[in-house]
């Protein structure tokens, strides 16, 4: 068994979901996503035992594109993030009703397929194809099943699509150029390429454009908030939970090792931009009136920190970034789900329309609180592990980076607690608010359990990704 099983299973799952019909779609999707999770866990087991689960096959001879899927620790960690979040996301949507749900769930699985493929691909063009492929389902998910004013949604989603596509096309140019140099798209060949400073510089920037838009790093983030707001929650979860991580993962996997000298040269600017994103996102989040938008900006702040970690080019920065990616993936999915739970009951996302929910919902409140705390990286949650390591790496680069980046723990607490206060606390809301249903609770509890467990015992994940990160660092520093 190798990693292609995961991809195939997701793809088959997408087709099966589509064929299952509207009534069964969600269940079939859940079964397949759980199956994939199982498979990826067993693959992880194999990987840990030293079995090679990578897959290399030929696809196209001219241009030479290989079906290369490399499953090292880092890739597997990200794939597991995908396969673990997908069932959660699917399951979380059981309380919603979608028109044409077979299409909807098929697209969700297809997107998971594309994202897993992005994480696994070890061939530049293959990677690019998966990268782009992931855009299409989310586009339709946001477009067709989104909420809010249709015209505005169309605009926002189209902007998102064009913007991200535009960015990634420049990456395509870079790949084409690299191909013309290396004669292959294979990761190793690209790593071994000797590029002149000028070449590295523009290739780095071309990659950067693609990733900065995807991650997003300010000032390329303008698509984000609107799309998060307009997309259905499932879409938002997929976007924020996994898709953003594609960008960050790619920074580690592709951008830095291929153009290490440029990365070193631009490091202060990049970290500066990323940290500016942290502060900017936090400050903008303060006054958001829409719950999903607020979470979107919080996400902007968090990924800014992760990006800063990536660009420090140190083991700490990278491993912290990976930890933070995973942690943020879970926590943001949880938070968006919270928003969705509230929406199911109150049909609003405007924070001022909420408040006074806590009295009626002890369980929900506790879980929401824990998620908020995880999001502000309270020690004991996995987010803290990531944030600590990233900030530590930043302090190694420059103490001021750590200080400025560290403002996230203050500002983050500020906007998250303010949000929590306005949403949950205060005089009992006149409108009744039913406490979480068991299915909702399962999702949230799973997320919380994950965050707390790895918050106290992050070693398994660290051990999983560290060897890969060391290899990548070796390439960077060669």
């Amino acid at each position: 068994m190798d990693v292609t099983t995961i991809l195939l299973l997701l793809l088959v799952g997408a087709v099966a979901t589509f064929l299952a019909g509207d009534k069964l779609a969600s269940k079939v999707a859940l079964v397949f996503s759980l199956g994939t999770l199982g498979v990826s866990l067993s693959l992880l087991n194999q990987l840990l035992q030293g079995t090679d689960i990578s897959f290399v096959g030929t696809w196209i001879d001219n241009p030479k594109v290989a079906l290369a899927f490399k499953a090292d620790g880092l890739a597997m960690a990200m794939v597991l993030l995908t396969t673990a979040l997908t069932p959660l996301i699917v399951f979380s949507s059981f309380g919603n009703h979608f028109n044409n749900s077979k299409n909807f769930y098929a697209l969700v699985l297809f997107m998971a397929f594309a994202m897993a493929g992005t994480f696994l691909a070890a061939d530049g063009l293959l990677y690019y194809i998966f990268w782009e492929l992931a855009l299409i389902p989310i586009y339709f998910i946001a477009l067709v099943w989104g909420n809010g004013d249709a015209e505005e949604r169309k605009k926002a989603v189209l902007k998102f699509f064009i913007y991200t596509l535009g960015g990634s096309l420049f990456m395509l140019i870079a790949f084409a150029y690299l191909y013309s140099k290396a004669g292959s798209f294979l990761l190793e060949d690209l790593y071994n390429l000797d590029l002149s400073a000028g070449e590295e510089s523009w290739i780095f920037l071309a990659f950067f454009l693609a990733y900065a838009i995807k991650i997003p790093i300010i000032p390329f983030h303008t698509w984000q908030a609107k799309v998060y707001q307009k997309a259905p929650t499932v879409g938002t979860m997929l976007l924020s939970g996994i898709m953003l991580k594609m960008g960050l993962y790619s920074v580690i996997r592709w951008q830095l090792p291929i153009a290490p000298h440029a990365a070193k040269e631009y490091m202060p600017i990049l970290i500066g931009l990323s940290i500016a994103g942290v502060i900017y996102g936090s400050i903008v989040a303060l006054r958001q009136k829409d719950l999903k938008k607020l979470l979107a900006y919080s996400s902007l702040a968090h990924v800014g920190l992760i990006a800063a970690g990536c660009y420090t080019l140190t083991l700490d920065g990278l491993s912290g970034a990976v930890a933070q990616m995973i942690a943020h993936g879970f926590v943001i999915v949880g938070l968006f789900f919270v928003a969705e739970i509230i929406y199911r009951r109150y049909e609003t996302r405007t924070i001022t329309d909420m408040g006074g929910i806590r009295t009626q919902t002890p369980k929900f409140t506790s879980m929401f609180m824990i998620l908020v705390l995880a999001s502000v990286a309270l020690p004991g949650t996995y987010n803290f592990v990531g944030e600590f390591t990233v900030l530590y790496s930043l302090s190694q680069a420059n103490l001021w980076f750590a200080v400025l980046g560290g403002t996230t723990i203050i500002l983050g607490a500020y906007y998250m607690l303010k949000m929590f206060q306005n949403v949950m606390l205060g005089e009992t809301n006149a409108k009744a608010f039913a406490d979480v249903t068991s299915s909702e609770a399962i999702t949230l509890v799973a997320i919380i359990a994950f965050l707390l467990f790895f918050g106290l015992y992050p070693k398994p994940i660290t051990d999983l990704v560290e060897p890969t990160l060391k290899e990548i660092l070796a390439v960077i520093n060669k």
């Binding site: 696809w59 196209i60 001879d61 001219n62 241009p63 299409n103 063009l125 690019y128 194809i129 998966f130 782009e132 492929l133 855009l135 299409i136 339709f140 477009l143 067709v144 249709a150 949604r153 169309k154 189209l158 699509f161 064009i162 596509l165 535009g166 096309l169 420049f170 395509l172 140019i173 084409a176 150029y177 191909y179 013309s180």
Partner: protein, 459 residues
């Protein structure tokens, strides 16, 4: 040669069928005939094209010609399949329509397999005249008339220029035989007539593929012509002209110096940019696709910059583009029918009323936009890659920016299909359109997944 003869025979059969009132049989027999032609082409090709030695001074079948001929036959097959339903309002003219399409195919095949400029010229004229007729074929529709008129006037103007070019080449070379010309162009010191002649011919071909600034006819003509004709023009005619241009330049060993390449670059940039920018503001779907076609012409022109090894790439691009175009037009035809409202509004709510058609149109538009797994992506990618290797990074960046712009209008249509409410009730869609659409988009995706199927054809 056999292919050409077979096609012509098929065309003549259509005319005879009319005499004996065999209209019902016409499409099935033509389709079978075309399939036979397809088989014949493939068979001849697989044996050894060089075996077809008769009249090699006029027609020579090589890999390039065979591959493109196959593509043309395939496209014609789709077009003929659609004709049955499309022309059901015109039973008396039906056989003429089919026959003209078949002859048009003959012209196209002649254009890619010529070894003598006279064949080239006649081929292009057969193609053009067929298209003039098809464009104007709705005789009571003023738009169709206008389209035919415009196309005819400008087309014959371009023919004049091509003829002038051929004349100058002849003047310089004393022959119309391209192999002879090729040899001569290497050896002797040439009179200036030769390069001028080449340029004039190239300009004429640029007109045919609707590259800027010779593109003005395309939107008007595409819009005015009956939808199926537009489909023919934007797929078959365009890729034929492009392949011919490529072949012309490659077989005549025309010295593409850097100055000439600069012209190609500028024309390419102009075509891409004008095509995409103008398409943004179009409301008529056919017109939008016309501009999109202009931009694709610009993309395809990049192949001329690395003429020695871009043949398979061009074939791939042409196939990807044409198949996507056929799929798109099959849906457009099935939605708009013959004439009527062709604005994007007509596609409102298609995602709900006809999900399959909407999906196919979406897929074909995505392919044209160059989104992966659809062959349009690989087409663009290979072209970009090749162009970068030829050292035209700047051109590729412009191309990429244009790709981004193009998403804007392709998605306008997709948005209309999926977000707007359907205006009218659900209308029945002829099965044959759906079949054609499914087939062509399936081909498109298959060659997207296995580009080698096409790229390996030309080594």
């Amino acid at each position: 040669m056999q292919t050409l003869i077979a096609i012509t025979a098929l065309g003549v059969f259509c005319l005879i069928a009319e005499i004996f009132n065999l209209r019902k049989l016409l499409v099935p027999v033509t389709v079978v005939g075309l399939l036979a032609v397809l088989g014949l082409t493939l068979q001849l090709w697989s044996i050894d094209p060089a075996l077809d030695t008769r009249y090699t001074s006029m027609i020579a079948v090589d890999g390039f010609a065979s591959a493109f001929s196959t593509l043309f036959v395939l496209l014609t097959l789709f077009l003929v399949l659609m004709s049955d339903t499309f022309y059901q309002e015109h039973p008396t003219k039906f056989s003429d329509f089919v026959a003209i399409k078949i002859f048009l195919l003959a012209g196209a095949v002649a254009m890619v397999s010529f070894t003598n400029l006279s064949m080239f010229f006649l081929g292009i004229e057969v193609l053009s005249i067929s298209l003039y007729v098809l464009a104007a074929s709705k005789r009571l529709d003023i738009k169709s008339n206008e389209a035919g008129m415009k196309y005819f006037l400008m087309g014959s103007f371009a023919s004049g220029i091509i003829l002038f070019g051929i004349c100058l080449i002849y003047g310089a070379m004393m022959s119309f035989d391209v192999t002879f010309i090729k040899e001569m162009s290497r050896s002797a010191e040439l009179p200036i007539w030769f390069p001028i002649g080449i340029i004039l011919v190239v300009i004429g071909m640029l007109f045919k593929i609707a590259a800027a600034p010779f593109h003005f006819w395309a939107p008007d003509v595409y819009e005015g012509s009956p939808a199926l004709t537009t489909a023919t023009m934007s797929t078959l005619a365009k890729v034929t002209a492009m392949a011919t241009l490529f072949k012309l330049l490659s077989v005549m060993n025309a010295d593409i110096d850097s100055k000439f390449q600069m012209v190609i670059v500028v024309v390419s940039i102009l075509s891409m940019s004008i095509g995409n920018l103008m398409a943004l503001r179009q409301d008529n779907v056919k017109r939008m696709l016309a501009f999109s076609g202009i931009s694709h012409a610009g993309f395809m022109l990049m192949a001329l910059l690395s003429i020695s090894n871009a043949g398979s790439m061009l074939l791939y691009y042409a196939a990807a583009y044409a198949l996507a175009g056929i799929a798109a037009f099959a849906v457009i035809v099935s939605v708009t029918g013959d004439g009527g409202n062709e604005t994007t509004a007509r596609f409102n709510g298609l995602g709900k009323t006809h999900p399959l058609l909407a999906a196919i149109l979406t897929a074909s538009l995505l392919s044209m936009a160059g989104i992966p797994i659809f062959s349009g992506f690989f087409a663009k990618f290979m072209l970009f890659s090749q162009t970068i290797q030829s050292g035209y990074l700047f051109l590729v960046i412009v191309g990429v920016i244009n790709s981004i712009i193009s998403v804007g209008y392709y998605f306008k249509l997709i948005l209309a299909m999926y977000t707007k409410e359907a205006g009218e009730g659900k209308q029945a869609v002829p099965l044959v359109y759906t079949i054609v659409a499914v087939l062509s988009i399936a081909f498109n995706i298959i060659i997207g997944l296995y580009p080698a199927l096409v790229t390996d054809l030309l080594g």
